[in-house]
Amino acid sequence: MNDLSPKARMSLPRQSMPAQPADERSHNFSEVNLGLSVLQAHQEALRCLECTHPRCTQGCPVGVKVKDFVALIAAGDLLAAAAKLREDNVLPAITGRVCPQEHQCEGACILGKRLAPLGIGYLERFVSDYEREHGVHTQAAKVPTTGKRVAIVGSGPAGLSAAGDLAQRGHAVTVFEALHEPGGVLIYGIPEFRLPKEIVRAEIENLRRLGVAFETNVVIGKTVTIDELLGTEGYQAVFIATGAGLPKFLGVAGEHLAGVYSANEFLTRINLMRADQFPDYDEPVFDCRRRTVAVVGGGNTAMDAVRTALRLGAARALLIYRRSEVEMPARREEIQHAREEGVEFLTETVPKAFVGNEQGLLRSIQCIRTEPGPPDRSGRRRVQPIADSEFEVPAEIAVMALGTGANPLIQASTPELATDARGYIAADPETLTTSRPHVFAGGDIVTGGATVISAMGAGRRAAAAIHAHLLMPDSKSDG
């Protein structure tokens, strides 16, 4: 129970997240943030003003009932708080770590108008960790099975959240994954120090307990087509949640030298294939020790890559971004962490060419300074190079974290599946229906590269739409 007056609540300081010291953590892959203590979590929960019309819930892409779960923490019922959280969010231990809360729930929090907003992300992480560490699996009440089968393509955040919601509604769900381990970007993309894989695996185990089946090593569009899923494989609906898996490059000279990676490749080699533990694991990655690693980009993926390079022993870890630091799309916390750990920021700079030696190995990057130009159609200022401002940065490894485009495998193998001009699947923003009956799509393969939580929001909307579709009398029969 929270008996404090609003004034007393507002006088409490926001709890700070305990973290590994920067000089220590920049040499290991253990999680940077250590999580709030029980005492801290309770103190933080007491700060909630329990608004009548909570803006935090509106700010959340999956509509988490923040006020309710925080009140349960204040009341000391941590497991009930976790269960409340799970009503709206099937992956709370993950989103508590990777959501850009400053633009969502915390950005909307009324406290933030004058004070620091409520630490909603910290609390979300705290209760779901508490639940997992105490071996409790909040299980939704069993509902009767519907006899309907749903295939989900891709096991990233959109696919997992849709799978959870559909299984809870009694449908038989199979999630297909192209790689050898489920989790999508949560496994191959986000590094261990920001999202321990043990947590992703535990959330996937929770889904298995709900009855969700996972089939790895299946590339939909190649191993099995969408038409076969709806035909011989006997599914009544398909949700395409493959993510935007096609890396972008700058298109400048020397970009194909050995040592120039896409962020997807660099991070996959380390996170999924554990190249950091070569030769105990077979997959290699360029040795970063005593070398300079330059990462190009300013988003979360760029931060993940550059901080990974530090942990691999890079002598110098550089971040090259074409705009200013305040314009970086990464979470504030990641930018701050990167700085603390010793990442050097080279902002308002773009690579013009990559220069190699006679063996085709990267040796330096030719860069040019930029300045803001006139705004483009979206209102964002263009970037224009400054004449005669070229300079060269020595680097042996470069990682291109420039965002991703639409991977065409499914579109190419699915007749009459409409796409937009950039190749993303066309889907209704609310119902996520596509041009093909019984086929839904959501997440990055519809919107282009976005966040874990917005993909989860799409997964939830897809689950609701698919559920409604399956219960319609004229929906696809069981064959």
Binding site: T174, V218, T223, H256
Partner: protein, 308 residues
């Protein structure tokens, strides 16, 4: 996991595997490949599918022990499981009915060229096959290739078989004697494919090569297998693996394929000194497969396949 139903040596260091992978077998078309991960600590490597039996639910892979993973794979035996097999990936070869096609296989490239040669033959194309190896004992699939062609020419670098020494020597003869060649398909070492391309380019003969770039996921996600065609970047996994031989930047491909040479050698050295370390991982997954046989059969079997 994916069971090795049968395997046998074709030549020193070259082994043929029949692996149970029903979904891959169903979908396979000549020219496509799988990505294989032998055990839990393994790397992902692409291997071209040499053949498939959709009824038996098996695919055939032919593996030449060159690096650590291929040498490890060649130590595996009948009844042992492979951790991961995913595919079929890449675009199939185009099996039109051409007039005359020359199919060239160098070394283990013969195994890759074979299903395409057979497919072309069945489509009504006149197939002239050229297969080459360093020495006669390393020649593979000679009988199969003979059956998949109207004319087979065998070459050995060291002359241990009578006849031409290099596949390009044989191609030269064929180009002299054949009035019209509609397509040349060459699969083998980069140097060989480049030499073939250089020979056919002045004559304007359509020539295709299958590129063995380094890959991780095989689905276009990582871009590690990027190759340059003229001025355009392509991903070998989703845009290939076959490309117009006259457009390929072979120097770049060779450089990128050498990128991990030192680490590959370190890995191989370690494996040859302590093969038991890896065989322990294999033994562990054998035990797992014995305890839970369902993980061997089910994962790639369509759930209601009996109903159809």
């Amino acid at each position: 996991m994916f069971l090795i139903e049968r395997c046998e040596w074709l030549a020193p260091d070259i082994k043929r595997f029949q692996i149970r992978a029903p979904r891959v077998a169903q979908k396979f078309q000549p020219g496509q490949f799988v990505i294989v991960r032998v055990h839990d600590h393994g790397e992902r490597i692409p291997l071209t599918i040499a053949d498939a039996d959709p009824v038996a639910g098996t695919i055939t892979l032919i593996v030449q022990g060159v690096g650590k993973t291929t040498k490890l794979m060649n130590r595996l035996a009948d009844g042992q499981p492979i951790r991961d097999v995913v595919g079929p990936l890449g675009n199939p070869s185009q099996l039109h009915r051409y007039g005359t096609v020359v199919v060239i296989g160098g070394g283990v490239g013969t195994a890759i060229a074979y299903p395409t040669a057979l497919g072309l033959l069945r489509a009504g194309t006149r197939v002239v096959a050229i297969i080459g190896a360093r020495t006669a004992s390393l020649l593979i699939m000679e009988d199969e290739m003979r059956a998949a062609s109207q004319l087979l020419i065998v070459t050995t670098d060291d002359g241990s078989r009578p006849g031409p020494r290099l596949v390009t020597d044989a191609l030269y003869e064929v180009m002299k004697s054949e009035p019209k060649i509609d397509l040349v398909l060459a699969v083998g070492p980069i140097g060989m494919m480049r030499a073939v391309a250089d020979m056919t380019r002045p004559h304007g003969i359509l020539t295709r090569v299958s590129l063995n770039a380094i890959m991780v996921d095989g689905t276009g996600m990582c871009g590690g297998c990027r190759v340059v065609m003229g001025h355009q970047t392509r991903f070998a996994c989703v845009d290939g693996p076959e490309f117009d031989a006259h457009q390929v930047d072979y120097d770049l491909l060779a450089q990128r394929n050498r990128a991990y040479r030192e680490m590959e050698q370190e890995s191989l050295r370690r494996f040859e000194q302590h093969p038991d370390w890896d065989m322990q991982w294999v033994a562990e997954q054998c035990r797992l497969a014995e305890r839970h046989p369902e993980i061997l059969v089910n994962p790639n079997t369509p759930p209601n396949s009996e109903a159809h």
